[in-house]
């Protein structure tokens, strides 16, 4: 692992600060345009294409990539894999930030964000899958906040409250898994209502299960990917346990991701068979489907497996990038590329640069918050007052 020296780190961070400043400046301006002029002012959305990248990337990918929280905490606290303990806090933190940013992004996307509580308090559209997604995401965001809070409380020195919350760990973890199972799969179930608009290769009655299983892949891969990044930039913040356990986390999570991907590959193929969709594979969309299935599911599964067998951390780390891209590609395919496939090209959607700008802006806010928190709170190390308190 190439550790960055102090001097280098300074220059990297000042470059980061510079870019961050530009992104924030542009983002604030775009925010003004969005709320002063409506969605039409900054997006390419249309009556045929009501959902763009703020849903496909910020919501669908955001929630999937933030799955590391429930995956890691359940592995450690429920399945008893204590050797991954040091991975829990960073995973919970990114999960919490991820969901918070999803919530932020939703405020840009919906027409009247101040009415977001309406489905809960004014009139409940209980037949809507979106109702369930909203309910679960809101609850889970709260759960993640509580799960994250001990780190903040240790930083602030709130010993009593911190110990109280830590007592709830198991309960919160179980809640997290229940809620995640529901809304990760429900994000896929959102598309069950559109058999006539989504290409048959992607439309499947299994789609909720596909979304749930890929969220596990995304969670595992993101933990590996993030730990690679934080080793590069925040190694000085890590304590010995974290550094010692990190390779084990990479190997173990790589192994798990490989097998989950293998299972996912299997159910995808079974899905084609049960829908009798073989003949679609010969079409253009079929080729694209195979690219996704072979290049972004089968390949990462295999590469992870090789990486685990030969104990190549580098290979596993690069594979995690491929796996994460695979999940992103899948969400884009379902929500944008294979959606409205029956329409002529002139009616299809391509994001406006300002939509991308807002998405980048939101990711940047996440990076800044992450940096702010890990450089201050006991995330990558254990607070000296609370050693072996878990």
């Amino acid at each position: 692992m190439a550790h960055v020296t102090t001097g280098e780190r300074k220059s990297i961070f000042s470059l980061f600060n510079f870019i961050a400043l530009i992104v924030l400046g542009v983002g604030i301006y775009l925010t003004y345009l969005r709320f002063a002029g409506g969605l039409g002012a900054v997006t390419n959305l249309s009556d045929y294409n009501p959902w763009g990248i703020w849903i496909s990337f910020d919501l669908l990918c955001g929630v999937a990539l933030a799955a590391g929280g429930y995956v890691t905490s359940s592995a450690v606290y429920l399945f008893g894999m204590k050797k991954y303990h040091s991975a829990v806090r960073p995973a919970i933190l990114t999960g919490f930030l991820g969901y918070a940013l999803v919530f932020l992004a939703i405020n840009y996307d919906v027409g009247r964000p101040w009415r977001l509580p309406y489905p809960l308090v004014v009139q409940q559209g209980t037949t809507s899958v979106l109702f369930e997604v909203g309910l679960c995401v809101a609850t889970y965001l709260t759960v993640l906040f509580i799960e994250f809070s001990p780190a903040a409380m240790e930083w602030l020195g709130l010993k009593r409250a911190r110990n109280l919350v830590v007592k709830l760990t198991i309960l919160l973890t179980i809640f997290g898994v229940v809620l995640s199972t529901m809304h990760q799969s429900s994000l896929g179930a959102l598309f069950l209502i559109v058999p006539s608009k989504l290409h048959p290769l992607w439309y499947s009655s299994y789609i909720p299960i596909y979304f749930f299983v890929t969220s596990i892949v995304a969670g595992l891969s993101m933990v590996i990917f993030e730990s690679t990044l934080s080793h590069r930039f925040f190694a000085h913040k890590m304590d010995e346990t974290h550094l010692k356990e990190a390779n084990g986390v990479t190997l173990g999570f790589g192994k798990a991701a490989s097998y989950v991907l293998a299972g996912y590959f299997a159910i995808k193929v079974l899905g084609i068979s049960s829908g009798n969709l073989w003949h679609y594979l010969k079409t253009g969309y079929g080729t694209w489907y195979l690219v996704e299935l072979l290049g972004f599911v089968a390949l990462p599964s295999l590469l992870y497996a090789i990486g685990v067998r030969v104990k190549s951390l580098t290979l596993i780390k690069w594979t995690s990038v491929l796996a994460v891209l695979g999940v992103i590609l899948n969400r884009f395919n379902v929500c944008l590329i294979a959606f409205n496939w029956h329409l002529p090209a002139s009616e299809r959607y391509f994001p406006h640069w300002m939509e991308i700008g807002i998405s980048v802006f939101i990711v940047m806010i996440g990076l800044i918050l992450y940096r702010f928190i890990v450089t201050r709170m006991p995330i990558l190390y254990e607070h000296s007052d609370y050693k072996d308190a878990h």
């Binding site: 039409g40 027409g111 229940v178």
Partner: protein, 319 residues
């Protein structure tokens, strides 16, 4: 007390409890739902339609819509394929007749007022409601603007005011619900000079359509579009050309939209009921294993210590 009761009623859906209390008890089973009895429908006979756009003009007027880009008397717009917009709740399109070239067919497009609306099923604030007149009406006072209804509608009808910053609404045909409850005809039906549009009880409209099939078997394709599509709609169409030639989808199936998501929704209680049991079980097992491992380790340490001690003591005895 009364407040919490009202809240509860809100939760379980005003549709269910407050409006329809009383009457038979056996209705609340998972059987076939036939829709509101005596609800209205509109039959569009495309063989009578001449593409005059009078219906579009009338629609614009009764709904107080902004003036159109091109006047309603300009028939050249029929050449391009148009869809519903925030400014036009209905559009008439012209299609080549594959059976008789030189005799184009016209098809008037607007919300089909489904018997089991996908838009209503998808809306998480219940902004859409199927009324007993047959109209599917929208309530902008609760709409959040998530646009899931637009995703869900298989006929691609709802439109959205993308240019509104603070009060964007979904816009679509109301089947002239406000006029109908006052005993008036929908604007388009009233305006049609060719009687291509008929308004009445849905059952009667289906009967009329069948009657026309019987009388003029050569003029029609023997299918009423909307009788069963997506569980049936309150707009019905008959045509001389295959419906596909009119840009209408024939692959929608007859399954009503709420059924498409019913399975996924019903997995929620299963997850909530069983997951905690499963996870708590896994937790218990892993904790037990850990405990055993700990005792094992303690025993191992203890016996090692014993051995150590006895080994140490032996030489002492010898000496």
């Amino acid at each position: 007390m009364s407040i919490s009761r009202r809240k509860f009623l809100g939760w379980v859906g005003a549709a269910g409890l407050s409006t329809t209390i009383g009457k038979s008890a056996s209705a609340a089973t998972n059987k076939h739902f036939a829709g509101y009895p005596d609800s209205f429908a509109i039959l569009h006979d495309t063989t009578l339609c001449v593409g005059c756009r009078s219906c579009e003009a009338a629609c614009n007027k009764v709904n107080d819509l902004p003036p159109p880009d091109r006047p309603f008397t300009d028939l050249s717009v029929l050449e391009t394929r148009r869809r519903t917009t925030t400014k036009a709740f209905t559009v008439v399109n012209k299609y080549d007749n594959p059976k008789k070239s030189g005799h184009p067919v016209f098809y008037k497009k607007q919300c089909n007022h489904c018997l089991e609306p996908a838009c209503a099923s998808a809306c998480f604030v219940r902004a859409f409601k199927k009324t007993k007149t047959g109209a599917v009406v929208y309530d902008p006072s609760v709409c959040v603007g998530c646009r899931y209804c637009m995703i869900a509608c298989p006929f691609e009808i709802p439109t959205y005011e993308y240019d509104q910053a603070l009060t964007p609404r979904i816009r679509k045909c109301t089947m002239c619900h406000p006029r109908v409850i006052e005993g008036q005809l929908p604007g388009c039906v009233e305006a049609c000079p060719m009687e291509a549009l008929s308004f009445g009880k849905r059952e009667d409209m289906i009967k009329i359509a069948r009657e026309r099939f019987r009388k003029y078997p050569d003029r029609y394709v023997n299918h009423i579009y909307g009788e069963n599509e997506m569980g049936g709609t309150s707009w019905l169409y008959v045509s001389g050309a295959p419906f596909k030639a009119l840009g209408m989808r024939e692959d929608l199936g007859i399954k009503p939209a709420p059924e498409l998501t019913a399975g996924a929704l019903s997995s929620v209680p299963i997850i909530v009921g069983l997951w905690p049991v499963l996870l708590a079980g896994i937790y218990a097992v892993s904790k037990r294993k850990e405990k055993f491992a700990q005792t094992d380790q303690e025993e191992a340490v203890a016996s090692a210590l014993d051995k150590d001690r006895s080994e140490q003591s032996q030489p002492e005895e010898e000496s």
